[in-house]
Symmetry: C2
Subunit: 432 residues, 2 copies
Amino acid sequence: MAEMGHKSRPAFLRVPPGFPSPRSSVSLIVQKYGGTSVGTPERIRNVARRILATQAEGHRIVAVVSAMAGVTNRLIELADEVTGEGQPTEREMDVLLATGEQTTIALTAMALNAMGAKAVSLTGAQAGIETDGVHTKARISNISPAGVHGLLDDGYIIILAGFQGKTADGSITTLGRGGSDLTAIAMSAAINADLCQIYTDVDGVYTCDPRVVPEARKIEEISYDEMLEMASSGTKVMQSRSVEFAKKFGVVFEVRSSLNENPGTIVREETMSMEAVVIRGVSLERAQAKVTIAGVRDLPGTAGKIFGAVAEANILVDMIVQNVSKTGITDISFTVHRDDVSKAEAALLPVLATLGEGATLEAQDGIAKLSVVGIGMRSHSGVAAEMFRALAEAGINIEMISTSEIKITVTLAEDQIDAAAKVTHAAFGLAE
Amino acid sequence: MAEMGHKSRPAFLRVPPGFPSPRSSVSLIVQKYGGTSVGTPERIRNVARRILATQAEGHRIVAVVSAMAGVTNRLIELADEVTGEGQPTEREMDVLLATGEQTTIALTAMALNAMGAKAVSLTGAQAGIETDGVHTKARISNISPAGVHGLLDDGYIIILAGFQGKTADGSITTLGRGGSDLTAIAMSAAINADLCQIYTDVDGVYTCDPRVVPEARKIEEISYDEMLEMASSGTKVMQSRSVEFAKKFGVVFEVRSSLNENPGTIVREETMSMEAVVIRGVSLERAQAKVTIAGVRDLPGTAGKIFGAVAEANILVDMIVQNVSKTGITDISFTVHRDDVSKAEAALLPVLATLGEGATLEAQDGIAKLSVVGIGMRSHSGVAAEMFRALAEAGINIEMISTSEIKITVTLAEDQIDAAAKVTHAAFGLAE
């Protein structure tokens, strides 16, 4: 990705709008509006007004838009109807789905023009977004931003189609789930944007799900790593791949609501002050199941056999826990989504037979996961102890435990997850 | 248009399917399906089956498709809603409208693939169709068919988006009314297709409108010039610009129905046998009006003033008749569509004042036009006399008369047009 920007830009250029900033410093902002934000003509006009307001603050703007809510599903229905028993070709599925964003860019650009602005739409291909050829889930391989720069220099607001690109030989591709976020982040990197704003239907990232913990606070700033761990633990504001991309290219982004004017959560490289906070947030994930293969002889290759079989069945495995015993016999447990349990069992039965006598397979749903995340825990001991103590005092039993450098995750009974989140949130003083 | 084909291909290669032809001669056929033919998923599957049947006859195929019926209107509604009082930018209108055909190409290609065929979709831009930058009514400036040839050589059926292209700098353009026909004809020229089939909801070109003259016959073969004169006289099977393009590049095309298997009408360079027929058909046009400026001094520049004013008001003028009198005072009459009469009057009033005393302006609607068309009339005298005699015998009064090399047009009272068409059709023996 030779033409992409890198992290060398000084941090003072990255002041987000709304934050105190000298009026004279014109900055380049990438905004992203999801399908709900552009779901009706009236909402598209609202988005246009918001873009105009940002421009009026003195900024240059590239706005990435998704397909209008519902459009993608209708296109998929059409594809199912014309193919009948057959399967839609993935290349053609991309040609079809790309019309959704193309419709939105045209409507948004003409709405802006009708309001007296100077706006122009670009498809992914026109904006120089090149991908590999893996249709329906392509990866961005390069962005040639010369055209975008030229239009910005000519004073245009650019309305860019999210979710799509083209291959080197000109076929239309789409980027899969979360693709519009990725477009915004990647274009921000390519054009050295000062800030990337991801507009969504939530106000930002919270210390915990406010529907579970009413005292949860919006987080002002969070590091990429914390955001990634929060995302992988169920706080699905954004797909991990977009956050990883932002981290790799040092793109500062803000998650904020398109429904109000509140500042959102800034996601960026960690700073000294971030480390002063031990725990950034608590995240939870329901509808999990635990699969345990017990009585396995502890031989090289066993885990490979097991997870090879699970991966081949296209099942997403999350926590994996193994505890080696002194007898040379061990148990391997992992969590999957509740809906994947029977698929996992079916995939593992043939493997079980090869693991020798005494090996058993057991699955149990009704499980949930609770995680605490914070880069501050790297320099603080005792976080795990504090968490376990709080849960124990509330009479909540822990089943599996797994830790990363900045995250501690436990599984527990699903019907105790709300109580567990509340006591953990309180134990780390996150409401203050 | 350096890369386009020309007329040098021997005529024997242009045998249409359905006509007796040796099974061994694989030919290259361009088909065009309009919005009604692809209006529902089930109809798209029918189109796919028809394409497969053509392939099974041993042909290679490029199929040009329009937007599904109704889609374009819905997109225009959306544009009106997002722009409110304002006007949609034409560039963005093209980006928006182009999604209509893009949706159809994807659906048609995946329908074919689901039936076991090997099909691939191309947008206008991907197919190398380059246009000027006049958005919403662009003109094709060049076609680079290398990509299309490559895919055909690889055994693909190509599903091509009609109505669209791109400018040299990559903006999406649309070709305006009749644009999909034009795409089919122009691509036929560019890839040296053996035949271009225009599928529509009529069986072909008839000697007269069968709703008016029940004995009207379908014409087997017609020359480009006759087709052009028929089109300009109200038989709107195709826009003139597509026929002119076909004539310029020697593209043989067939107008036929997508609702049945009947052979249609072949349109081609005139042949000796075509000239044996004096009159090919009778065409009629209703809802006309006559505008007369009388008492005009016959000075150079007068007609220029009059039609300059009318053209500036964007009014389509059809027949123009002027008869110079010996006194140096003349009348100029022309026909316009009924709906344009008051606009024409308003445009001409300022001009009238400059034409000197005695000049008057008069408009009259309730007029219709009747034409006989045939390249054979070039070598036969007496066609006009025969037509006027037949009309007179039926008691029908003629108002204006205008002739071209292969057409005679008269205006008459609109309520007599059906009777006039019947007697003229009979007078030239067109039912036989």
